[in-house]
């Protein structure tokens, strides 16, 4: 079983649009939406949830005000500024480390498990899907990504599928690392803008760092052909395979508004045709 992660570095370059189309084109694959703080893949694949799991990613400090004598030691020792002047816990800032509970001279603080989100196993028209939703203001998205990937692996073994397609989050930090570590190939979707190029380079460094085979695709390549040439040149110099160039087409947004992937909404469009080519080239690299 192989794993393919779609990344971008910069957000909004078309990761999810492309992932959903690849999910439609792939036969016998399992999909994982690892953008757990703002997942969008379900809006195109319309999963039907079969199983919901609570995600307990961390703990939360709770102060028993009847025991607390307001000495403020907890506030002083907390490295996350999670204890207010009134000696109350700010749940958004608390990272659940337990230092306050350990040092409280009155034993007024306990650590409780907090539910930070939910993981889902779902069925779509195109195959099974693992996804999740981090609750608003919760942390530990990296751990939740790991849970989603675990679920995807279990699904793929059960279903005898040969590929997991992972929609990754933007950036290069914790949840991205959790989405890319240990996969076979990572396809970076970029756009021909200064930010697109900058973020592509950082994403590629990260992929290299984790010994994953990189592929690149330029979305909306015709907005700025000079920048597209720069990206192609950069990839050639660094021996990175470019699997496609997708033109700008308002039909892509139209498809999204209709809750459909572009390969289904407008299969004859230049975008859909290019995505089919991209899929073929990705398969070759896998």
């Amino acid at each position: 079983m192989k794993q393919l992660t779609i990344l971008s570095g910069k957000g909004g370059t078309g990761k999810t649009t492309l992932t959903a189309s690849l999910a439609v084109l792939a036969r016998n694959a399992v999909f994982a939406d690892c953008d757990v703080d703002a997942p969008d893949l379900h809006m195109l694949l319309h999963p039907e949830v079969i199983k919901t799991q609570e995600f307990k990613g961390s703990k939360l400090a709770v102060i028993d005000k009847t025991k607390c004598d307001n000495c403020g030691v907890c506030r002083e020792k907390c490295r996350f500024d999670a204890i207010t002047d009134a000696i109350e816990v700010d749940p958004v800032a608390c990272e659940g480390c337990g230092v306050c509970a350990a040092i409280c001279p009155s034993d007024a603080i306990t650590m409780i498990e907090r539910v930070s989100g939910y993981a889902y196993i779902s069925k779509t028209k195109y195959g099974f899907m693992a996804h999740a939703l981090l609750s608003p203001g919760e942390s530990n998205s990296g751990k939740l990504v790991t849970l989603v990937r675990q679920n995807a692996r279990i699904l793929s073994e059960k279903e005898n599928s040969d590929l997991i397609i992972i929609d990754g989050p933007p950036g290069i930090g914790c949840p991205v690392i959790a989405s890319v570590s240990g996969v076979d190939v990572s396809l970076v979707v970029t756009e021909p803008t200064m930010s697109g190029i900058h973020d592509l380079q950082r994403a590629l460094q990260l992929i290299k760092h984790f010994n994953v085979t990189p592929l690149v695709c330029v979305n909306m390549y015709d907005i700025n052909k000079d920048n597209t040439d720069k990206i192609l040149g950069f990839c050639e110099e660094n021996s990175i395979k470019v699997v496609g160039r997708i033109p700008f087409n308002p039909k892509v947004t139209e498809a999204m508004v209709n809750g459909k992937t572009i390969v289904e909404y407008s299969p004859e469009s230049d975008v859909a045709k290019e995505i089919e080519n991209i899929w073929k080239r990705c398969k070759d690299s896998l």
């Binding site: 999810t16 230092v99 930090g173 930010s195």
Partner: protein
């Protein structure tokens, strides 16, 4: 006043709005807290005059004092320490720098040492001061670096913060203690879905906010319906125009080439000020 510019969905134009507003307002400081992929400097081409490394504290175990009782590993909520009878393993990328292990050790065998996670960069364009953080590639913890960027906030300045994308810890750390949060979205189903999640986060944090609709004209009108139902003010609309997209692709803030926008961004900032003072 501190105004954060955020967006649940990536690529909606956060950085563009933050930079154009910063260029239009004057006496201001722009902080780019998207330390994973900082982009504001690409639109501003600042003269970077100083770079400062940023460190986090991680444990250092003095093997001579340690007798492998395992209390530190038991305490660590992040599984960053592993202790066996003959060996200690430390996984720095999992450490949150809480300092708990040093407290848990009964023999004071653990001290803390510095580990680099990235750098702060200081630049200027005219009277606009830019500070941005750049996370070292392969590092996990964006939050301490974001804190370091925010420590540079100057008093009596118009502070504009470009937030990272999403709604999880880096975003929360960025928008914390802001007076106002400007949410940039686009009128598409993805834009609306991610806007709703961000709105929930801000309501939970009790930070006042308003919306900028970018690429107005594409997609549908559901973002407008949602904002009306929820009483969320739409403070600006930026139409989808090829010229704006092209300028962005070349790294040019569009208000410089389309000067009518300078007044619009000034008006936007005044409106935010009015909402904050209300």
């Amino acid at each position: 006043m501190i105004v954060a510019v955020a967006s649940g969905k990536g690529g909606t134009g956060k950085t563009s709005v933050a930079v154009n507003m910063a260029l239009s307002v004057g006496n201001d400081q722009l902080l780019d807290c998207d330390v994973e992929e900082p982009n504001a400097h690409l639109l501003l081409n600042p003269n970077v005059h100083r770079t400062e490394p940023v460190y986090v504290l991680v444990p250092h175990i003095n093997e001579e004092l340690c007798y492998h009782c395992g209390e530190c590993a038991k305490f660590c909520q992040y599984n960053a320490l592993f202790v066996s009878p003959d060996k200690n393993l430390f996984f720095p990328e999992l450490c949150h720098s809480c300092g708990g292990c040093t407290l848990a050790c009964p023999r004071q065998a653990i001290t803390e040492e510095k580990r680099r996670i990235g750098a702060l960069k200081f630049g200027a364009v005219g009277d606009l001061k830019l500070v941005y953080g750049e996370l070292d590639v392969g590092e996990i913890m964006a939050v301490p670096l974001i804190r370091a960027v925010k420590n540079q906030i100057q008093d009596n300045t118009n502070v504009i913060i470009d937030a990272p994308v999403g709604t999880s810890c880096p975003v929360i750390e960025t928008v914390r203690e802001s007076d106002f949060c400007l949410l940039v979205t686009e009128p598409t189903p993805f834009g609306l879905h991610d806007l709703k999640i961000t709105v929930e986060v801000l309501r939970k944090m009790s930070i006042p906010f308003g919306v900028v609709v970018n690429r107005a004209g594409i997609g549908d009108n559901k973002v407008y319906q949602y904002c009306e139902e929820e009483n969320i003010p739409i403070l600006m609309e930026i139409p989808y125009q090829r010229k704006i997209a092209e300028l962005y692709s070349r790294g040019v803030p569009f208000s410089l080439e389309m000067p009518e926008w300078k007044a619009k961004f000034q008006a936007l900032y005044s409106e935010i000020k009015r909402l904050v003072e209300e």
